[in-house]
């Protein structure tokens, strides 16, 4: 039987999940080869929303290209912008003011919580629970309001510019964030009551979509999906950028490697983000929010790489510069693409109902995969 898995034989059923299937996120198209209800092969078909962002960036200046990366992983748009700004600053050798660094990290962590909250709601909805979605959006809305007030937009902020941030914090920012922390602590127990402890949910998650530590490494899985398999992959700890070195937080690791472990990693990671915000919110240093930069940015000839930890994993920005005002080549190493590559391995031999649970815990954002 084992040899047969992965080979299409007569009598196998081939069905398409997506691109407009309600159980998929965005326009993911999966071609499933089934033997009865057992999955033999999962083939993701990509490219439905490919916008050639990498190619577009080649014709944009170093200030302009940052906005387009908000449209990759739109749930951690601020972190994407952060990565690009960091990479340009690395090339130019700009020292970012301390205030800008703290603002960036605060916004990063707020984005991470917002992203994980949306994932939590969508994940429960994938498994058939509709109410958690609204509970998650209640807290997420508070973060969106903070973003709207300070950055000017709710989702595609474009708040990072080379050298700092676009505008100073709004006077209400600290108070609003403290209100959010209060609300979060008041409501977080509901997440466990509604979903985590639920016996139906646990039965659908535990032992489903197993990914071993070795496989996670060989498929290049990063982020919470890898940490659920016990792979230490938090860029904030391994290759600290900005002020993460001075902050106290733990890297969450679970060793089971199943869907439930990945679920727990994300839930616990939200608490770590809260810890970081609490450390910073009362200690925002005074000073400039933006370093003085030239009107036209020109990166010196060479190659620059910067990685950051988004809500989904490691995002790498690779810029090749010829010394001009626009990059010669830009490559994004997006976490979603590598995480999706492990889906076939994880789903093989499982049941079709478990595929949705496995996919949900990978937290796929399709624009991030297609770019």
């Amino acid at each position: 039987m084992v040899e047969e898995i992965g080979k299409t034989v007569e009598g196998d059923l081939i069905i398409n999940v997506g691109p407009q299937h309600p159980a998929t996120h965005g326009v993911l198209h999966l071609v499933l080869t089934l033997n009865g209800e057992t999955i033999k092969k999962v083939e993701p078909h990509l490219g439905y929303i490919h916008r050639s962002i990498e190619k577009m960036c080649e014709s944009l200046s170093y200030r302009q290209f940052i906005y387009s990366t908000s449209r990759m992983d739109y749930l951690s748009a601020h972190i994407n912008n952060h990565a690009c700004a960091l990479c340009v600053e690395k090339g130019l050798g700009i020292e970012v003011p301390a205030r800008a660094q703290v603002i960036r990290v605060l916004m990063d962590e707020l984005t991470r919580i917002a992203s994980h909250e949306l994932w939590w709601g969508a994940m429960a909805m994938d498994l058939g629970a509709f109410t958690p979605f609204f509970h998650a959006f209640r807290e997420r809305e508070t973060i969106n309001d903070i973003m709207e007030e300070t950055c000017g937009a709710r989702l595609t902020m474009n708040y990072n510019v080379p050298g700092g941030v676009m505008a100073d914090l709004h006077p209400n920012f600290q108070e609003r964030v403290k209100n959010f922390l209060k609300l979060y602590k008041l409501k977080i127990h509901e997440y466990d009551e509604l979903v985590t402890g639920n016996i139906i949910f646990q039965n659908r998650m535990k032992g489903v979509g197993y990914l071993s530590k070795e496989d996670a490494i060989s498929y290049g899985v990063t982020g919470p999906a890898a940490r659920g398999s016990g792979v230490s992959s938090d860029i904030r700890k391994l290759y600290p950028y900005e002020i993460y070195k001075q902050l106290e937080f733990d890297e969450i690791l679970e060793t089971e490697g199943d869907s439930f472990a990945r679920y727990m990693v994300r839930l616990r990671e939200m608490n770590e983000s809260i810890k970081i915000i609490e450390q910073l919110i009362d200690n925002i240093p005074d000073g400039d929010f933006q370093a003085k930069t030239k009107a036209v940015l020109k990166l010196p000839k060479g190659e620059f790489y910067q990685r950051v930890e988004t809500a989904r994993g490691e995002l790498g920005v690779y810029i090749v510069s010829e010394g001009g005002t626009t990059p010669y080549r830009i490559k994004f190493r997006s976490p979603g693409f590598s995480n999706l590559s492990a889906l076939d391995h994880m789903a093989r031999g499982g049941k079709i109902g478990d595929l949705v649970a496995t996919m949900g815990t990978l937290d796929l954002v399709i624009p991030d995969i297609d770019r």
Partner: protein, 158 residues
């Protein structure tokens, strides 16, 4: 003991479901905690933050004067070609030629509200407005002229 574990499992399962139902029941009976906003009905009370990016507008004062010198900094800063500035040359009373804007064309349909043009403007002539209901029946209505007809440059702005 197999039987004891079995009963324990069933008890735990029922308990977990009841805990979840308790939470649902709490919100069923506490209507004040529901925070849903009825959007089209509350349109008049909607207060968007001042930094919210809805569309680019040009500020005019009561004398119908603006601060745009036609330097094209916004046009260069825009990543999408949203802004197009058509300049003309005014002849001053002394007989000198002076550059001024004729039309400030703004393509709302191309705009991604990235705020780079407002950031680039050296005189603060343009800003982001808080309007957000942009749908129209005709695509041509989305191409706008931002300087009002008959407006001219404020005195003292270079």
């Amino acid at each position: 003991m197999f039987i004891v574990d079995y009963i324990k499992d069933i008890y735990g399962a029922i308990r977990s479901l009841l805990v979840g139902m308790n939470r649902t029941g709490y919100y069923f009976t506490h209507h004040k905690e529901i925070i849903t906003q009825n959007y089209p009905e509350n349109r008049l009370e909607l207060n968007l933050p001042e930094r919210f990016r809805g569309e680019v507008v040009m500020t005019h004062d009561e004398n119908n004067e603006h601060a745009c010198t036609g330097c094209s900094a916004c046009e260069l800063a825009c990543p999408n070609g949203t802004i197009k500035i058509i300049n003309k040359f005014d002849i001053s009373p002394e007989g000198k030629k002076k550059k001024a804007i004729d039309t400030f064309v703004y393509h709302l349909e191309l705009c991604t509200m990235c705020n780079l043009c407002v950031d680039a403007c050296p005189t603060g002539a343009i800003k982001m407005a808080q309007t957000f209901e942009h749908s129209v029946y005709n695509r041509g209505l989305l191409t706008k002229q931002l300087n009002k007809p008959g407006s001219k440059l404020k005195a003292g702005v270079e």
